[in-house]
């Protein structure tokens, strides 16, 4: 199975973002991190992809998840 492309849109202060990133790291999943507090383009991208303005947003091969839901995340990542 080829590795899935994972992007995490987050803010530096958001605890659920930290938990999501730590979860990915603990499971050896590589991801691209986008700080929507600093990066305005990433913010707009996140809003248009997810249709909402809450973080974290996780993009797994184009599938969008809002929030940190460990069960769903495992399912989507196949781990």
């Amino acid at each position: 199975m080829s590795a899935k492309e994972v992007k995490v849109y987050s803010t530096p202060t958001c605890p659920y973002c930290k938990m999501a990133k730590k979860f990915l790291e603990d499971n050896g999943i590589e991801y691209q991190h986008l700080d929507v507090a600093e990066d305005k383009a990433a913010r707009e991208e996140m809003i248009s992809k997810s249709g909402q303005m809450g973080v974290p947003v996780i993009d797994i091969d184009g599938e969008i998840m809002v929030g940190f839901d460990q069960t769903k995340l495992k399912e989507k990542l196949g781990i």
Binding site: P15, R43, Q52, K72
Partner: protein, 302 residues
């Protein structure tokens, strides 16, 4: 069938889990998430043993402590129903599973109180947020409104005046938070305060575009153009699960006695979901330990 199911994994639930595991109770820890309310608390200076620690870090330590013990966990599953059996309880989850146990500890905590006004639910996540610390930076450079007059609202306003174009602080009461937080806002030139005003409606088609507020004294209405709303008007207990089985007080908290007993044999409650006065991490943790020890005594007598 388990001996005990602990519902909720904040300070009360995780402490109950450690105590239950040390008593070798065959227990299940069931929770939508791990960590509870401290996850959105930045600095903690009154949890003994730590002079200063951030909420998520403290909860990480709680989690590590739980993991030291052989205890079953289902994290990511919220309890959606609880019913009494002839001997024990059945807990249904939002993932369609169900679990049975002789005893249950409810440690489901509290969640942010909604405004309950038109437009709020529809625009939730589209400019309406209940986690200023999470989503605040997304509204950098925009006009925003913070709703509430307590510490959480004042902290949110204090953070937002630094990055937003303008902050409207709207409270139905005079400001009730700590004086130090009120003083912090004194010099902000981009802050307007509407005390004794209520929010009537959240407006916008696909995103928040503004709010309608009303002066409680004069009845005069006003519209504020904002792109984001931070709702910080307190918390409500997650007690729906047992509202038909146990007694709730006037604010919906589960009434418990000194021993975390609800009045239903085998059903205990601990932490912020209960009517125990003062909502503090150290108190919730203490209550969680007490509930597990009482549950242990209850199970021994069966």
């Amino acid at each position: 069938m388990y001996e005990l199911i602990i519902i909720g994994a904040g300070p009360a639930g995780m402490t109950a889990a450690v105590y239950a595991a040390r008593k070798r109770i065959n227990a299940l820890l069931l929770s939508k998430d791990l960590g509870g309310q401290p996850l959105t608390t930045v600095g903690i200076e009154n949890y003994m043993g730590y002079q200063y620690i951030e909420g998520p870090e403290l909860m990480q330590k709680f989690e590590e402590q739980v993991k030291q013990f052989p205890l079953e966990q289902r994290i990511g599953q919220g309890a959606s129903s609880l019913s009494r059996l002839d001997a024990g309880f059945e807990v249904g989850t939002d993932q369609g599973e169900s679990y049975r146990a002789k005893a249950v500890i409810i440690a489901t905590g509290k969640r942010p109180r909604p405004l309950n006004v038109p437009g709020e639910e529809r625009l939730r996540g589209r400019g309406v947020t209940y986690c200023a610390i999470c989503d605040g930076p997304i509204f950098a450079g925009e006009k925003v409104a913070v709703i509430g007059g307590g510490n959480s609202a004042l902290e949110a306003a204090g953070d937002m005046v630094k990055i937003a174009e303008h902050v409207h602080l709207v409270s139905i009461t005079p400001l009730t938070g700590d004086q130090i937080l009120i003083d912090n806002l004194k010099d902000a030139s981009n802050l307007s305060t509407f005390l004794e005003h209520e929010v009537v409606e959240v407006e916008g088609s696909s995103r928040v575009e503004g709010i309608a507020i009303r002066d409680l004294k004069t009845g005069e209405g006003k519209k504020l153009e904002v792109g984001g709303i931070f709702v910080e008007i307190g918390l409500i207990p997650n007690s729906e699960l047992v509202r038909d089985i146990v007694k709730l007080n006037e604010v919906g908290e589960i009434e418990v006695n000194y021993a975390c007993e609800t009045g239903v044999p085998g059903l205990f409650a601990a932490g912020d979901v209960t009517d125990v006065p003062e909502k503090q991490i150290v108190i919730a943790a203490g209550e969680g330990s007490k509930a597990a020890l009482r549950a242990h005594k209850y199970l021994q007598r069966l």
